[in-house]
Symmetry: C2
Subunit: 361 residues, 2 copies
Amino acid sequence: MSTRQYNYLIVGAGFAGSVAAERLASKGNKILLVEKRNHIAGNAFDEYDEHGILVHKYGPHIFHTNSKKVFEYLSQFTEWRKYEHRVLANLDGELYPIPINRTTINKLYNKNFTTEDEVKEYYESVREKRSPILNSEDIIVNQVGVDLYEKFFKYYTKKQWELDPSELSSSVCGRIPIRTNTDDRYFTDQYQFMPKDGYTKMFEKILAHPNIKILLNTDYKEIINKIEFDKIIYTGPIDSFFDYEFGKLPYRSLHFEWENHKTEFYQKVTSVNFVNSEKYTRITEHKYFSNQKSNTTTITKEYPQMEGEPFYPIPNDENSVLVTKYKSNVSKLNNVKFIGRLAEYKYYNMDQVIGRILSLY
Amino acid sequence: MSTRQYNYLIVGAGFAGSVAAERLASKGNKILLVEKRNHIAGNAFDEYDEHGILVHKYGPHIFHTNSKKVFEYLSQFTEWRKYEHRVLANLDGELYPIPINRTTINKLYNKNFTTEDEVKEYYESVREKRSPILNSEDIIVNQVGVDLYEKFFKYYTKKQWELDPSELSSSVCGRIPIRTNTDDRYFTDQYQFMPKDGYTKMFEKILAHPNIKILLNTDYKEIINKIEFDKIIYTGPIDSFFDYEFGKLPYRSLHFEWENHKTEFYQKVTSVNFVNSEKYTRITEHKYFSNQKSNTTTITKEYPQMEGEPFYPIPNDENSVLVTKYKSNVSKLNNVKFIGRLAEYKYYNMDQVIGRILSLY
């Protein structure tokens, strides 16, 4: 092992950086974990707001996975509470289960389907075959036709991305299943839980290793030439690492408006998506995450926007050309590993990024 | 201004270190603030517990001051809620106002005093003149005689310090006033408030300056030879700085036992002091600090002990000899400033340490 001060400089204290720090520290490596913000946990950061409600500061984070390995890894650092995410779509003021399921179809088209086959037949009768599947419009219309596409996907996606689904990779809308049964859970993974005391507490435990030093409020560029280390793990935006050499990569950002209401519950489920009205995409009611009791409730309205902190890579052809250029830069570097949603310009769920780190370290 | 990486290395992110960091950063200095724990705010740290109650993790911290300057300084970083601290003494199962006031005397001795003069006369009739005043027994007995001393001070102080008041500097018990009126507030300062969203939130704002880099989980000794800086401000234990050269200074520590009760309130006031029973000194009910609503309530029982993290310097002759030795070491150092309760081995209230930093920087 090197005699340098740190074996690893890790940039970013979100899931990618924190799990890498823990894995490497537990093997005897000395880690300096540098974070631009004044807190750990990345966008999974939660805290109690001024009304005493535990809120997801950067939008709802729902932990779900089919990976026993990932679940057991995190279980070292938190207890869990059972949590199944449910979402309703607000369409013309009426509420429908999302993802689309049998209940959605029955209510919307005044049907009485009782079997999966009936619904499958219905989708078959309205779908419009597209081949090849090139984009997010194709992938939905190919399954359920134009009417359901327009009602539940087209405008919502436009609000979310400022792009028509036809301009977005099929992976964006393709992530959302189309159901024939009445399952109204947003996810169907085997493990669906919330960290019992919240994500931030779980991160505190992940990082509670004497070999991990945490430097907050600091851009790694301010210190990189002043400290000694062997290797870098970089989890920040890939374009920023290379000083935007080939131009800025666009990231979708979010603006949150917070409201506290003097009522026990504001809405029936955690998230209501507004699929054909409002400028915000969705309203999230945070109490559902923790099941806490309170006379008031805190909600957020999410307004997607281009400016602001990077949240989502925008997967389309133009951007993937740009990313490829940056990635060829990465391949020339020794001792720097790029991991995570921002560093790989790739949408990862939480469990995916954790799984990736666990297999690497 | 120096071209070194940091103008100041500040050790400890409690009030002394954090306020110094803010003052110096605002004048253009680059600061590295190093903290051994995984959080800022020192012993004033508060957070929501697993029951959603905001708790003072290292015991009750009551902000009170007569200094307009200190109050206005902190007001840049927090809003406030009015809070007046009230304490009751549990003596043989009965509750009495503390500090001792007219109500205490009337209830305890079955009197009906209605004026300050009557109570003053009473104290005069029971006091036992001591001169010189050498210790904490002297200062109380000299004011109110042996019975009140034994009832409210002797055993409580022994529990707190493992020393008889006669072995402790008069400053310890002398801090607590003896009243002739019916004022049952613990403090009478002009400004008595709680930071509206808690101490930790206030510290986050104090430290939210781009010139302040915060390094958590780190003993300054691990990094001091690896970074460049002009000056040190040290707020940790003075004996540890000098590697216990003259021996270890004793600090009084606390062990906290936490309980959550399924009731709206557990006791009538924030703190109940057990003056002649129990092994714990007091029970503190945290909800009173924030006035939050909840069906449950969290309390702590405080057990003073010698082992554990340093809380209070122990002011007696033996220790002050030792401190003087260490302080003569300090005077030989250039570019290191020792400030705060641990670095000066001196009891400071929060406002006192802030006032001291403000006058220095």
